[in-house]
């Protein structure tokens, strides 16, 4: 069983208009930039629902798909570092479902753990809880949230092996491991691809059972949104 594909173009085979994708990353940190670029080169893939904590910037990350109007709906916790996003949202072209960040992470993790719904306190008493079931446990109010599963989850890891085992680096980990769990098909792009046995089995963040396709990306740009330095 070979999970290794040659590049992003091969990896995204089978992604079709109307599908739901999960894309890892927080801001521009740890985003699957190669697969996003490949999707933007396939403008016939449209009407995507993208579950991603953020929506990129105008000329990088998911912003590229927004420019092409490939996205129908975004499910995110924080958006709008991005003029085109704002324009499409205000004009009604783009549907946006804002979800508290922890709820978003837990919805992905739950979907990838076979848990269809769970109670969380986040958003109780706010518009997030409108229309949702509320229940009290130990004197505190919680909202019932349904989990997410994607048609394709696309994640970016630091190191991977050909069995699909992944290791992430620093805060580039973020949503990637939980989204990897929740894909009907999960694609991983990695900076370094090694043979099985080269990664320490104690130290793997995402088990290969959750990963269906893997490839090594070259020349990662890894754009920085806020370069803050101390003197």
């Amino acid at each position: 069983m070979n999970k290794v594909v040659n590049n992003a173009e091969e990896a995204i085979q089978g992604i079709e208009s109307g599908m739901t994708l999960m894309l890892g990353g927080f801001g521009l940190c740890g985003i699957p930039e190669k697969c996003i670029a490949a999707l933007s080169q396939s403008p016939s893939i449209k009407d995507l629902t993208c579950i991603s904590n953020n929506a990129g910037v105008d000329d990088f990350g998911l912003g590229l798909l927004l420019q092409n109007k490939q996205i129908k709906k975004m499910i995110s916790s924080y958006v709008g570092e991005n003029d085109e996003f704002e324009r499409q949202m205000l004009s009604g072209e783009l549907e946006v479902e804002l979800t508290p960040q922890g709820t978003l992470a837990e919805k992905c993790r739950a979907g990838g753990a076979g848990i269809p719904a769970f109670f969380t306190p986040a958003g109780y008493g706010t518009e997030i809880s409108d229309g949702k079931e509320i229940r009290e446990f130990n004197g505190k109010k919680y909202i019932l949230e349904n989990s997410f599963v994607s048609d394709f989850s696309i994640v970016k890891a630091w190191k991977g092996d050909t069995d699909g085992n992944l290791i992430f680096k620093a805060t580039a980990r973020n949503f990637n491991p939980v989204m990897a769990m929740a894909g009907k098909i999960t694609i991983a792009e990695v900076e370094e691809l090694v043979a099985p046995g080269e990664l320490d089995p104690n130290q793997i963040h995402t088990a290969g059972i959750f990963v269906h396709r893997i490839f090594k990306g070259n020349n990662y740009e890894k754009r920085i949104e806020q370069r803050t330095v101390s003197s």
């Binding site: 924080y78 978003l104 008493g125 973020n174 890894k222 370069r227 330095v229 101390s230």
Partner: protein, 217 residues
């Protein structure tokens, strides 16, 4: 009257040894600059880091190492990286002992509004709803009034809420207040600020007990 740094300094006095702390964007971030001597606190960044350090030197900048404000940062010895689900697990489980965040409005019931203004572009709540729904000790850092001079300490929030019944303390440019039993309890005046000024700037129910001391910054 306090400036942003003064607000951060006063909040820093609320830190206790061993605390795990989450600081929001803006004034809250400044709190990290004023940790009292002899006190050891660990900063949590909800994008997946415990043990956040200061900004890096130019040559140390790492695109894979950012905080929840998407700023490049560093780590302290003993730091840990984790995924977003684990990060909010510790937040919801109440392991983060102090959360400091900004607000547009806070009311006397501890409700907070800080994510959405009707008619304006909404960027999203990020992790704020999870944080305020979970932390036991939440301090709001903000100006006492908005740009129009209207009070931000209200009887009832008018903007869409971020959380209900959750804020315990507020530090503004004018005062340090606790929220208890449906009222703002004035604990300290900012240097040079009179009780009268605070009364005028506070729309919500304000309780003044005895002599209100001036802050020591």
């Amino acid at each position: 009257m306090l400036d942003k740094h003064g607000i951060a300094k006063r909040i820093a006095q609320e830190l206790e040894d061993g605390y795990y702390v989450n600081l929001g964007i803006g004034i809250p971030t400044l709190v990290a600059n004023y940790i009292p001597k002899g006190i050891d606190v660990t900063f949590q960044s909800e994008n997946g880091l415990l043990g956040m350090g200061p900004f890096p030197k130019a040559e140390e900048v790492d695109a894979d190492l950012i905080n929840a404000g998407k700023q490049t940062i560093t780590t302290m010895p003993g730091s840990v990286f984790f995924d977003s689900a684990y990060s909010f697990a510790m937040i919801r489980a109440g392991k983060v002992q102090l959360t400091v965040l900004g607000a547009m409005e806070v009311d006397q019931n501890g409700d907070i509004a800080n994510w959405k203004i009707p008619g304006k572009m909404v960027k999203g709540m990020g992790g704020a709803m999870d944080l305020v729904a979970s932390a036991e000790n939440i301090i709001v850092a903000m100006m006492h009034t908005n740009k129009k001079g209207e009070s931000k300490l209200l009887e009832k929030c008018t903007l869409p809420l971020t959380g209900v019944n959750c804020i315990t303390k507020v530090v503004t440019n004018l005062a340090f207040l606790e929220i208890k039993n449906g009222a703002f309890v004035l604990k300290e005046r900012a240097p040079g600020v009179s009780v009268e000024e605070i009364k005028t700037a506070t729309q919500g129910k304000l309780i003044i007990e005895g002599d209100v001391p001036e802050m020591r910054i």
